[in-house]
Protein backbone atom coordinates (compact mmCIF):
# COMPACT_ATOMS: atom_id res chain seq x y z
CA UNK A 1 0.00 0.00 0.00
CA UNK A 2 1.25 3.45 -0.92
CA UNK A 3 1.81 5.61 2.13
CA UNK A 4 3.45 8.61 0.54
CA UNK A 5 3.10 9.72 -3.04
CA UNK A 6 4.86 12.89 -4.13
CA UNK A 7 4.48 13.75 -7.80
CA UNK A 8 6.56 16.15 -9.85
CA UNK A 9 7.51 18.25 -6.85
CA UNK A 10 9.44 21.37 -7.85
CA UNK A 11 10.74 24.27 -5.82
CA UNK A 12 12.92 27.21 -6.77
CA UNK A 13 14.64 29.75 -4.61
CA UNK A 14 15.15 33.00 -6.49
CA UNK A 15 15.45 31.20 -9.77
CA UNK A 16 17.66 28.38 -8.48
CA UNK A 17 16.03 25.00 -8.85
CA UNK A 18 16.23 23.27 -5.46
CA UNK A 19 13.90 20.46 -6.46
CA UNK A 20 13.11 19.60 -10.04
CA UNK A 21 10.07 17.41 -10.77
CA UNK A 22 10.88 14.92 -8.05
CA UNK A 23 8.65 11.84 -7.87
CA UNK A 24 8.75 9.93 -4.63
CA UNK A 25 6.65 7.02 -3.61
CA UNK A 26 7.00 5.16 -0.35
CA UNK A 27 5.08 2.03 0.58
CA UNK A 28 3.73 1.23 4.00
CA UNK A 29 6.43 -0.52 6.02
CA UNK A 30 9.39 0.51 3.89
CA UNK A 31 12.71 1.81 5.14
CA UNK A 32 13.99 4.02 2.35
CA UNK A 33 17.32 5.77 2.19
CA UNK A 34 17.78 9.10 0.46
CA UNK A 35 21.33 9.98 -0.50
CA UNK A 36 23.05 12.69 -2.46
CA UNK A 37 25.94 15.11 -2.10
CA UNK A 38 25.67 18.37 -0.17
CA UNK A 39 23.14 20.70 -1.70
CA UNK A 40 21.47 17.96 -3.71
CA UNK A 41 18.06 18.77 -2.23
CA UNK A 42 17.64 16.07 0.42
CA UNK A 43 16.79 18.39 3.28
CA UNK A 44 14.78 20.63 0.98
CA UNK A 45 12.69 17.62 0.04
CA UNK A 46 12.03 16.91 3.71
CA UNK A 47 11.16 20.55 4.31
CA UNK A 48 8.64 20.39 1.49
CA UNK A 49 7.14 17.09 2.66
CA UNK A 50 6.78 18.36 6.23
CA UNK A 51 5.19 21.64 5.14
CA UNK A 52 7.98 24.03 6.13
CA UNK A 53 8.34 24.98 2.47
CA UNK A 54 5.55 24.89 -0.08
CA UNK A 55 6.40 23.43 -3.41
CA UNK A 56 5.83 25.61 -6.47
CA UNK A 57 4.47 22.72 -8.51
CA UNK A 58 3.51 19.16 -7.74
CA UNK A 59 1.32 17.25 -5.32
CA UNK A 60 2.00 15.33 -2.13
CA UNK A 61 -0.35 12.70 -0.79
CA UNK A 62 -0.15 10.88 2.51
CA UNK A 63 -2.34 7.77 2.61
CA UNK A 64 -4.16 9.05 -0.49
CA UNK A 65 -5.01 12.44 1.06
CA UNK A 66 -3.41 15.66 -0.16
CA UNK A 67 -1.07 17.26 2.36
CA UNK A 68 0.70 19.84 0.23
CA UNK A 69 -0.33 23.31 1.31
CA UNK A 70 -1.07 22.24 4.87
CA UNK A 71 0.69 23.82 7.84
CA UNK A 72 3.48 21.78 9.47
CA UNK A 73 1.42 21.10 12.58
CA UNK A 74 -1.47 19.78 10.46
CA UNK A 75 0.85 17.49 8.57
CA UNK A 76 2.20 16.13 11.84
CA UNK A 77 -1.34 15.48 12.97
CA UNK A 78 -1.87 13.35 9.87
CA UNK A 79 1.09 11.20 10.85
CA UNK A 80 4.05 12.53 8.88
CA UNK A 81 6.74 13.35 11.43
CA UNK A 82 10.28 14.55 10.94
CA UNK A 83 13.48 15.15 12.83
CA UNK A 84 15.91 17.94 12.08
CA UNK A 85 19.47 17.69 10.87
CA UNK A 86 20.63 20.30 13.36
CA UNK A 87 18.98 19.10 16.54
CA UNK A 88 16.05 21.32 17.40
CA UNK A 89 15.24 20.43 20.97
CA UNK A 90 13.48 22.55 23.55
CA UNK A 91 16.69 23.41 25.35
CA UNK A 92 15.27 24.91 28.52
CA UNK A 93 12.91 22.01 29.11
CA UNK A 94 13.68 18.67 30.68
CA UNK A 95 14.20 15.56 28.58
CA UNK A 96 10.83 14.21 29.69
CA UNK A 97 9.05 17.50 28.96
CA UNK A 98 10.52 17.55 25.46
CA UNK A 99 8.81 14.27 24.73
CA UNK A 100 5.69 15.09 26.73
CA UNK A 101 4.89 18.10 24.53
CA UNK A 102 4.78 15.76 21.56
CA UNK A 103 2.97 13.01 23.42
CA UNK A 104 0.10 15.39 24.17
CA UNK A 105 -0.86 15.40 20.51
CA UNK A 106 -4.35 13.97 20.09
CA UNK A 107 -4.74 13.34 23.83
CA UNK A 108 -7.99 14.32 25.50
CA UNK A 109 -8.27 17.48 27.55
CA UNK A 110 -7.31 21.12 27.27
CA UNK A 111 -5.21 23.67 29.14
CA UNK A 112 -8.32 24.89 30.93
CA UNK A 113 -9.14 21.33 31.90
CA UNK A 114 -5.62 20.94 33.28
CA UNK A 115 -5.98 24.10 35.36
CA UNK A 116 -9.21 22.97 36.96
CA UNK A 117 -8.36 19.28 37.02
CA UNK A 118 -11.17 17.99 34.79
CA UNK A 119 -11.12 14.23 34.48
CA UNK A 120 -10.69 14.19 30.69
CA UNK A 121 -7.65 16.40 30.98
CA UNK A 122 -6.18 14.40 33.83
CA UNK A 123 -6.61 11.22 31.82
CA UNK A 124 -5.07 12.77 28.70
CA UNK A 125 -2.11 14.06 30.68
CA UNK A 126 -1.58 10.69 32.34
CA UNK A 127 -1.70 8.91 28.98
CA UNK A 128 0.73 11.39 27.49
CA UNK A 129 3.09 10.95 30.40
CA UNK A 130 2.99 7.21 30.02
CA UNK A 131 3.62 7.44 26.28
CA UNK A 132 6.48 9.89 26.83
CA UNK A 133 8.14 7.61 29.36
CA UNK A 134 7.68 4.65 27.05
CA UNK A 135 9.34 6.55 24.19
CA UNK A 136 12.24 7.59 26.39
CA UNK A 137 12.67 3.95 27.31
CA UNK A 138 12.83 2.97 23.65
CA UNK A 139 15.82 5.25 23.10
CA UNK A 140 17.49 4.46 26.43
CA UNK A 141 17.00 7.90 27.92
CA UNK A 142 14.81 7.06 30.91
CA UNK A 143 17.66 7.64 33.33
CA UNK A 144 18.14 11.20 32.06
CA UNK A 145 14.44 12.15 32.07
CA UNK A 146 14.82 15.12 34.40
CA UNK A 147 17.97 16.56 32.84
CA UNK A 148 17.64 19.83 30.94
CA UNK A 149 17.78 19.03 27.23
CA UNK A 150 20.57 21.49 26.48
CA UNK A 151 22.77 19.79 29.07
CA UNK A 152 22.63 16.47 27.24
CA UNK A 153 25.66 15.13 25.42
CA UNK A 154 25.33 15.32 21.65
CA UNK A 155 24.61 11.68 21.03
CA UNK A 156 21.82 11.69 23.59
CA UNK A 157 20.30 14.81 22.05
CA UNK A 158 20.08 12.82 18.89
CA UNK A 159 18.17 10.03 20.55
CA UNK A 160 15.93 12.55 22.29
CA UNK A 161 14.88 13.93 18.91
CA UNK A 162 13.93 10.46 17.84
CA UNK A 163 12.03 9.82 21.08
CA UNK A 164 10.14 13.07 20.59
CA UNK A 165 9.27 12.05 17.05
CA UNK A 166 8.09 8.62 18.22
CA UNK A 167 5.83 10.23 20.79
CA UNK A 168 3.93 11.75 17.86
CA UNK A 169 3.06 8.18 16.84
CA UNK A 170 4.20 8.61 13.24
CA UNK A 171 2.99 6.61 10.27
CA UNK A 172 5.87 7.97 8.26
CA UNK A 173 9.03 9.14 9.99
CA UNK A 174 11.51 11.34 8.14
CA UNK A 175 14.95 11.20 9.73
CA UNK A 176 17.23 13.99 8.54
CA UNK A 177 20.87 12.97 8.91
CA UNK A 178 20.45 11.44 12.32
CA UNK A 179 24.03 10.14 12.34
CA UNK A 180 25.68 13.50 11.70
CA UNK A 181 28.30 14.27 14.30
CA UNK A 182 28.13 10.87 16.00
CA UNK A 183 31.13 8.72 16.79
CA UNK A 184 31.29 5.15 15.45
CA UNK A 185 29.89 3.60 18.62
CA UNK A 186 26.99 6.04 18.66
CA UNK A 187 26.38 5.37 14.98
CA UNK A 188 26.12 1.67 15.66
CA UNK A 189 23.69 2.31 18.48
CA UNK A 190 21.63 4.60 16.24
CA UNK A 191 21.54 1.95 13.54
CA UNK A 192 20.13 -0.54 15.98
CA UNK A 193 17.58 2.01 17.16
CA UNK A 194 16.38 2.78 13.63
CA UNK A 195 16.04 -0.92 12.91
CA UNK A 196 14.06 -1.38 16.09
CA UNK A 197 11.71 1.49 15.28
CA UNK A 198 11.20 0.16 11.78
CA UNK A 199 10.54 -3.33 13.10
CA UNK A 200 7.94 -1.72 15.38
CA UNK A 201 5.87 -0.86 12.31
CA UNK A 202 6.96 2.67 11.46
CA UNK A 203 7.67 3.51 7.83
CA UNK A 204 10.91 5.45 7.63
CA UNK A 205 12.65 7.67 5.11
CA UNK A 206 16.24 8.30 6.06
CA UNK A 207 18.36 11.09 4.66
CA UNK A 208 21.96 10.23 5.30
CA UNK A 209 25.39 11.23 4.14
CA UNK A 210 27.02 8.04 5.25
CA UNK A 211 26.40 5.74 2.27
CA UNK A 212 27.51 2.68 4.19
CA UNK A 213 24.96 3.30 6.89
CA UNK A 214 22.19 3.75 4.33
CA UNK A 215 23.03 0.66 2.35
CA UNK A 216 23.35 -1.32 5.57
CA UNK A 217 19.89 -0.27 6.71
CA UNK A 218 17.81 0.28 3.61
CA UNK A 219 16.90 -2.12 0.90
CA UNK A 220 15.76 0.69 -1.34
CA UNK A 221 17.72 3.86 -1.93
CA UNK A 222 16.91 7.07 -3.76
CA UNK A 223 19.67 9.37 -4.97
CA UNK A 224 19.28 13.08 -5.58
CA UNK A 225 21.63 15.46 -7.28
CA UNK A 226 21.03 19.13 -7.95
CA UNK A 227 17.40 18.70 -7.01
CA UNK A 228 16.83 15.91 -9.53
CA UNK A 229 16.14 12.29 -8.70
CA UNK A 230 18.93 10.41 -10.48
CA UNK A 231 18.36 6.90 -9.16
CA UNK A 232 15.73 4.91 -7.30
CA UNK A 233 15.94 1.19 -6.64
CA UNK A 234 17.65 -1.58 -4.69
CA UNK A 235 20.53 -0.12 -2.70
CA UNK A 236 23.25 -2.26 -4.30
CA UNK A 237 22.18 -1.07 -7.75
CA UNK A 238 21.92 2.56 -6.77
CA UNK A 239 25.39 2.77 -5.27
CA UNK A 240 26.87 1.32 -8.45
CA UNK A 241 24.84 3.59 -10.69
CA UNK A 242 27.32 5.62 -12.77
CA UNK A 243 25.33 8.84 -12.33
CA UNK A 244 25.38 8.41 -8.58
CA UNK A 245 29.09 7.70 -8.54
CA UNK A 246 29.68 10.74 -10.63
CA UNK A 247 27.55 12.92 -8.39
CA UNK A 248 29.58 11.82 -5.41
CA UNK A 249 33.04 11.49 -6.86
CA UNK A 250 32.91 13.40 -10.13
CA UNK A 251 34.96 16.58 -10.44
CA UNK A 252 33.79 20.02 -11.42
CA UNK A 253 33.99 19.13 -15.10
CA UNK A 254 31.39 16.39 -14.83
CA UNK A 255 28.81 18.62 -13.16
CA UNK A 256 27.06 19.45 -16.38
CA UNK A 257 26.60 15.84 -17.37
CA UNK A 258 25.28 14.73 -14.01
CA UNK A 259 22.75 17.53 -14.15
CA UNK A 260 21.37 16.41 -17.47
Amino acid sequence: MKLLQASRVSLSFKGVRALDKVDLSIDQGELVGIIGPNGSGKSTLFNVLSGIYRCDVGTIELAAARIDGLAPSQIVERGLVRTFQNKRLFGSMSVLENVLVAALKAKSGSPLGDVFGFSGSRRGMAEALELAQHCLGRVNLSALASVQARELPYGAQNRLEIARALALEPRLLLLDEPAAGLNPAEREELRGLIEKVHAGGVTIALVEHDVRMVTGLCRRVIALDHGVKIADGPSEDVIRNPQVLEAYFGGATSEETSHA
Partner: protein, 317 residues
Protein backbone atom coordinates in the same frame (compact mmCIF):
# COMPACT_ATOMS: atom_id res chain seq x y z
CA UNK B 1 11.81 27.47 51.09
CA UNK B 2 11.08 25.06 53.92
CA UNK B 3 7.48 23.97 54.12
CA UNK B 4 7.02 25.59 57.51
CA UNK B 5 8.13 28.98 56.25
CA UNK B 6 5.90 28.56 53.24
CA UNK B 7 2.87 27.72 55.38
CA UNK B 8 3.53 30.79 57.47
CA UNK B 9 3.40 33.20 54.54
CA UNK B 10 -0.36 33.50 54.27
CA UNK B 11 -1.12 33.96 58.02
CA UNK B 12 1.66 36.51 58.17
CA UNK B 13 0.19 38.40 55.23
CA UNK B 14 -3.20 38.34 56.93
CA UNK B 15 -1.78 39.71 60.18
CA UNK B 16 0.26 42.50 58.59
CA UNK B 17 -2.54 45.09 58.57
CA UNK B 18 -2.76 44.88 62.37
CA UNK B 19 0.95 45.52 62.74
CA UNK B 20 2.02 47.92 60.03
CA UNK B 21 1.62 51.68 59.89
CA UNK B 22 -0.77 53.11 57.35
CA UNK B 23 1.87 54.24 54.88
CA UNK B 24 3.66 50.91 54.73
CA UNK B 25 0.34 49.21 54.25
CA UNK B 26 -0.43 51.63 51.44
CA UNK B 27 2.78 50.63 49.69
CA UNK B 28 1.91 47.00 50.28
CA UNK B 29 -1.47 47.45 48.62
CA UNK B 30 0.24 48.81 45.52
CA UNK B 31 2.63 45.88 45.53
CA UNK B 32 -0.30 43.47 45.66
CA UNK B 33 -2.12 45.33 42.88
CA UNK B 34 0.95 45.40 40.63
CA UNK B 35 1.51 41.72 41.21
CA UNK B 36 -1.36 41.08 38.82
CA UNK B 37 -0.15 42.86 35.69
CA UNK B 38 3.38 41.65 36.40
CA UNK B 39 2.38 37.99 36.67
CA UNK B 40 0.20 38.49 33.60
CA UNK B 41 3.14 39.83 31.68
CA UNK B 42 5.10 36.79 32.81
CA UNK B 43 2.89 34.62 30.60
CA UNK B 44 4.05 36.61 27.58
CA UNK B 45 7.57 37.58 28.48
CA UNK B 46 8.83 34.74 30.61
CA UNK B 47 7.01 31.87 29.01
CA UNK B 48 6.45 32.94 25.43
CA UNK B 49 9.60 34.98 25.01
CA UNK B 50 7.64 37.99 23.80
CA UNK B 51 8.57 41.30 25.40
CA UNK B 52 5.56 43.59 25.69
CA UNK B 53 5.53 47.29 26.46
CA UNK B 54 1.76 47.53 26.39
CA UNK B 55 0.95 46.06 29.79
CA UNK B 56 0.50 49.50 31.36
CA UNK B 57 -2.04 50.39 28.69
CA UNK B 58 -3.97 47.16 29.24
CA UNK B 59 -3.90 47.83 32.97
CA UNK B 60 -5.44 51.18 32.07
CA UNK B 61 -8.15 49.60 29.93
CA UNK B 62 -9.25 47.53 32.93
CA UNK B 63 -9.14 50.57 35.21
CA UNK B 64 -11.08 52.75 32.78
CA UNK B 65 -13.69 50.10 32.07
CA UNK B 66 -14.64 49.75 35.71
CA UNK B 67 -14.29 53.51 36.31
CA UNK B 68 -16.74 54.31 33.53
CA UNK B 69 -19.19 51.52 34.30
CA UNK B 70 -19.42 52.50 37.96
CA UNK B 71 -19.47 56.30 37.58
CA UNK B 72 -21.44 56.72 34.36
CA UNK B 73 -23.81 53.79 34.52
CA UNK B 74 -23.91 53.40 38.28
CA UNK B 75 -22.90 49.74 38.23
CA UNK B 76 -21.72 48.25 41.44
CA UNK B 77 -17.96 47.63 41.33
CA UNK B 78 -18.42 43.92 41.93
CA UNK B 79 -20.53 43.70 38.78
CA UNK B 80 -17.92 45.64 36.83
CA UNK B 81 -15.07 43.22 37.56
CA UNK B 82 -15.86 40.69 34.86
CA UNK B 83 -16.52 43.33 32.17
CA UNK B 84 -13.24 45.05 33.10
CA UNK B 85 -11.36 41.79 32.55
CA UNK B 86 -13.25 40.90 29.37
CA UNK B 87 -12.92 44.33 27.77
CA UNK B 88 -9.18 44.28 28.44
CA UNK B 89 -8.85 40.85 26.85
CA UNK B 90 -10.97 41.97 23.90
CA UNK B 91 -8.84 45.07 23.33
CA UNK B 92 -5.64 43.05 23.63
CA UNK B 93 -6.81 40.48 21.10
CA UNK B 94 -8.33 43.03 18.74
CA UNK B 95 -5.14 45.03 18.42
CA UNK B 96 -2.57 42.52 19.62
CA UNK B 97 -3.82 39.31 18.06
CA UNK B 98 -2.33 40.17 14.71
CA UNK B 99 1.06 41.26 16.01
CA UNK B 100 1.63 38.40 18.42
CA UNK B 101 3.06 36.39 15.53
CA UNK B 102 5.83 38.91 15.11
CA UNK B 103 9.20 37.98 16.50
CA UNK B 104 11.60 39.80 18.76
CA UNK B 105 12.02 43.51 18.27
CA UNK B 106 9.11 43.77 15.86
CA UNK B 107 6.77 42.58 18.56
CA UNK B 108 8.22 45.09 21.03
CA UNK B 109 7.71 47.91 18.53
CA UNK B 110 4.16 46.78 17.88
CA UNK B 111 3.35 46.79 21.59
CA UNK B 112 4.68 50.33 21.88
CA UNK B 113 2.21 51.11 19.11
CA UNK B 114 -0.60 49.50 21.10
CA UNK B 115 0.47 51.54 24.10
CA UNK B 116 0.19 54.71 22.01
CA UNK B 117 -3.17 53.80 20.52
CA UNK B 118 -4.68 53.18 23.94
CA UNK B 119 -3.10 56.29 25.45
CA UNK B 120 -4.27 58.55 22.64
CA UNK B 121 -7.76 57.06 22.75
CA UNK B 122 -8.06 57.59 26.51
CA UNK B 123 -6.86 61.16 26.17
CA UNK B 124 -8.90 62.19 23.13
CA UNK B 125 -12.17 60.29 23.17
CA UNK B 126 -13.46 62.92 25.53
CA UNK B 127 -17.16 61.98 25.30
CA UNK B 128 -16.36 58.57 26.65
CA UNK B 129 -13.32 58.97 28.88
CA UNK B 130 -13.48 62.68 29.84
CA UNK B 131 -10.01 62.92 28.34
CA UNK B 132 -7.44 64.92 30.31
CA UNK B 133 -9.91 65.52 33.14
CA UNK B 134 -9.75 61.90 34.11
CA UNK B 135 -12.55 60.05 35.87
CA UNK B 136 -13.21 61.11 39.47
CA UNK B 137 -15.25 59.76 42.35
CA UNK B 138 -14.92 56.11 41.48
CA UNK B 139 -16.87 54.29 44.20
CA UNK B 140 -15.13 51.90 46.59
CA UNK B 141 -15.76 48.19 46.28
CA UNK B 142 -18.60 47.16 48.56
CA UNK B 143 -19.07 43.58 49.66
CA UNK B 144 -22.39 42.86 51.36
CA UNK B 145 -22.71 46.45 52.48
CA UNK B 146 -19.14 46.59 53.77
CA UNK B 147 -17.29 49.35 51.93
CA UNK B 148 -13.63 48.75 51.34
CA UNK B 149 -12.79 52.44 51.48
CA UNK B 150 -9.82 52.31 53.84
CA UNK B 151 -6.33 51.11 53.04
CA UNK B 152 -6.64 48.47 55.74
CA UNK B 153 -9.85 47.03 54.33
CA UNK B 154 -8.71 47.25 50.75
CA UNK B 155 -5.54 45.39 51.65
CA UNK B 156 -7.55 42.20 52.18
CA UNK B 157 -9.26 42.51 48.81
CA UNK B 158 -5.92 43.10 47.06
CA UNK B 159 -4.43 40.16 48.92
CA UNK B 160 -7.32 37.95 47.84
CA UNK B 161 -6.82 38.97 44.20
CA UNK B 162 -3.08 38.46 44.39
CA UNK B 163 -3.40 35.02 45.96
CA UNK B 164 -6.02 33.85 43.47
CA UNK B 165 -4.06 35.18 40.53
CA UNK B 166 -0.88 33.55 41.82
CA UNK B 167 -2.49 30.15 42.34
CA UNK B 168 -4.26 30.27 38.98
CA UNK B 169 -1.10 31.34 37.18
CA UNK B 170 0.82 28.55 38.89
CA UNK B 171 -1.69 26.00 37.61
CA UNK B 172 -1.74 27.46 34.11
CA UNK B 173 2.02 27.22 33.91
CA UNK B 174 1.87 23.61 35.02
CA UNK B 175 -0.81 22.86 32.41
CA UNK B 176 -0.13 21.75 28.86
CA UNK B 177 -0.37 25.39 27.80
CA UNK B 178 2.69 26.11 29.95
CA UNK B 179 4.54 23.34 28.13
CA UNK B 180 3.47 24.66 24.72
CA UNK B 181 4.55 28.19 25.57
CA UNK B 182 7.94 27.12 26.83
CA UNK B 183 8.41 24.91 23.79
CA UNK B 184 7.60 27.64 21.32
CA UNK B 185 9.78 30.15 23.11
CA UNK B 186 12.69 27.71 22.88
CA UNK B 187 12.19 26.80 19.23
CA UNK B 188 9.11 27.78 17.33
CA UNK B 189 9.82 25.64 14.30
CA UNK B 190 10.31 22.56 16.44
CA UNK B 191 7.12 23.36 18.35
CA UNK B 192 5.31 23.49 15.03
CA UNK B 193 6.87 20.16 14.10
CA UNK B 194 5.44 18.49 17.22
CA UNK B 195 1.93 19.69 16.40
CA UNK B 196 1.79 22.56 18.87
CA UNK B 197 -0.75 25.12 17.67
CA UNK B 198 1.75 27.93 17.88
CA UNK B 199 -0.44 30.88 17.01
CA UNK B 200 -3.27 29.74 19.22
CA UNK B 201 -0.90 29.29 22.16
CA UNK B 202 0.56 32.76 21.66
CA UNK B 203 -2.84 34.43 21.43
CA UNK B 204 -3.89 32.59 24.58
CA UNK B 205 -0.81 33.89 26.38
CA UNK B 206 -1.68 37.38 25.22
CA UNK B 207 -5.27 36.98 26.41
CA UNK B 208 -4.12 35.71 29.80
CA UNK B 209 -1.68 38.56 30.25
CA UNK B 210 -4.49 40.99 29.40
CA UNK B 211 -6.91 39.31 31.80
CA UNK B 212 -4.45 39.67 34.65
CA UNK B 213 -3.77 43.29 33.65
CA UNK B 214 -7.51 44.01 33.52
CA UNK B 215 -8.09 42.59 37.00
CA UNK B 216 -5.15 44.62 38.29
CA UNK B 217 -6.56 47.74 36.66
CA UNK B 218 -9.89 47.06 38.33
CA UNK B 219 -8.21 47.00 41.75
CA UNK B 220 -6.19 50.09 40.98
CA UNK B 221 -9.23 52.12 39.94
CA UNK B 222 -11.17 51.24 43.08
CA UNK B 223 -8.23 51.86 45.36
CA UNK B 224 -7.00 55.16 43.96
CA UNK B 225 -10.58 56.05 42.97
CA UNK B 226 -9.40 58.35 40.22
CA UNK B 227 -8.02 57.50 36.80
CA UNK B 228 -6.20 59.67 34.31
CA UNK B 229 -4.65 58.73 30.95
CA UNK B 230 -1.17 59.69 32.18
CA UNK B 231 -1.31 56.95 34.79
CA UNK B 232 -1.25 54.34 32.05
CA UNK B 233 1.47 55.57 29.75
CA UNK B 234 4.80 54.03 28.91
CA UNK B 235 6.13 54.41 32.45
CA UNK B 236 3.98 51.73 34.09
CA UNK B 237 4.57 49.53 31.04
CA UNK B 238 8.30 49.77 31.54
CA UNK B 239 7.89 49.28 35.26
CA UNK B 240 5.82 46.11 34.84
CA UNK B 241 8.20 44.75 32.25
CA UNK B 242 11.16 45.33 34.50
CA UNK B 243 9.42 43.78 37.49
CA UNK B 244 8.49 40.77 35.43
CA UNK B 245 11.95 40.25 33.95
CA UNK B 246 14.03 41.34 36.91
CA UNK B 247 12.10 38.99 39.12
CA UNK B 248 13.03 35.76 37.64
CA UNK B 249 13.01 33.95 34.43
CA UNK B 250 9.79 31.94 34.60
CA UNK B 251 9.53 32.25 38.36
CA UNK B 252 6.29 33.69 39.71
CA UNK B 253 7.78 34.02 43.18
CA UNK B 254 10.66 35.95 41.69
CA UNK B 255 8.28 38.27 39.88
CA UNK B 256 6.36 38.96 43.07
CA UNK B 257 9.57 39.53 44.97
CA UNK B 258 10.86 41.94 42.35
CA UNK B 259 7.55 43.78 42.35
CA UNK B 260 7.89 44.23 46.10
CA UNK B 261 11.50 45.42 45.91
CA UNK B 262 11.04 47.76 42.99
CA UNK B 263 7.72 49.21 44.10
CA UNK B 264 9.13 49.86 47.59
CA UNK B 265 12.16 51.47 46.03
CA UNK B 266 9.91 53.66 43.89
CA UNK B 267 7.90 54.74 46.92
CA UNK B 268 10.75 55.31 49.33
CA UNK B 269 12.82 57.12 46.77
CA UNK B 270 9.95 59.52 46.12
CA UNK B 271 11.51 62.37 48.18
CA UNK B 272 14.31 62.48 45.61
CA UNK B 273 11.84 63.50 42.94
CA UNK B 274 12.98 62.84 39.42
CA UNK B 275 16.41 61.82 40.67
CA UNK B 276 14.91 58.63 41.98
CA UNK B 277 14.70 57.38 38.42
CA UNK B 278 18.50 57.46 38.35
CA UNK B 279 18.74 55.26 41.42
CA UNK B 280 16.08 53.09 39.90
CA UNK B 281 18.07 52.78 36.71
CA UNK B 282 21.20 51.84 38.62
CA UNK B 283 19.34 49.13 40.55
CA UNK B 284 18.04 47.77 37.26
CA UNK B 285 21.39 47.78 35.53
CA UNK B 286 23.01 46.05 38.45
CA UNK B 287 20.22 43.50 38.53
CA UNK B 288 20.47 42.74 34.83
CA UNK B 289 24.25 42.49 34.99
CA UNK B 290 24.61 40.38 38.09
CA UNK B 291 21.35 38.43 38.09
CA UNK B 292 20.46 37.98 34.46
CA UNK B 293 18.22 35.05 35.37
CA UNK B 294 16.36 37.07 37.95
CA UNK B 295 16.97 38.33 41.40
CA UNK B 296 15.81 35.15 43.11
CA UNK B 297 18.97 33.41 41.94
CA UNK B 298 20.59 35.44 44.70
CA UNK B 299 19.06 33.00 47.14
CA UNK B 300 19.77 29.82 45.25
CA UNK B 301 22.57 27.89 46.84
CA UNK B 302 23.74 26.10 43.77
CA UNK B 303 23.77 28.58 40.97
CA UNK B 304 24.48 26.50 37.89
CA UNK B 305 26.00 28.20 34.92
CA UNK B 306 24.23 27.05 31.77
CA UNK B 307 26.50 25.20 29.43
CA UNK B 308 26.62 26.23 25.83
CA UNK B 309 23.61 25.34 23.78
CA UNK B 310 24.55 22.98 20.99
CA UNK B 311 23.46 23.93 17.50
CA UNK B 312 20.81 26.27 18.78
CA UNK B 313 21.03 28.92 16.12
CA UNK B 314 21.21 27.01 12.89
CA UNK B 315 18.85 27.59 10.02
CA UNK B 316 16.24 25.28 8.60
CA UNK B 317 17.56 24.40 5.21
Amino acid sequence: MPILARAAVLPALLLLPMLLPQYVLHVLVFILIYTLPVIGLGFLTGFTGRVSLAQGALFGVGAYTTALLTTRLGWSPVAALLPAVLVTVAVAIAIGGAVVRLAGLYFVMATIGIQQIVGITLMNWIDLTAGPQGVRSIPPVALAGWELDSTRNFYFLALLFAVISYVLAKRIIASRLGLYLRALSDDQLAADAVAVKVTRAKVTALALSAAWAGAGGFLYAHYVRYVHPDMFGLEPSVLFLVMSMFGGYRSLEGMIFATAVLESATEYLRPFGEYRMIAYGVILLAGMMFFPKGILTLFERKARAPRKAVGAAEGVA
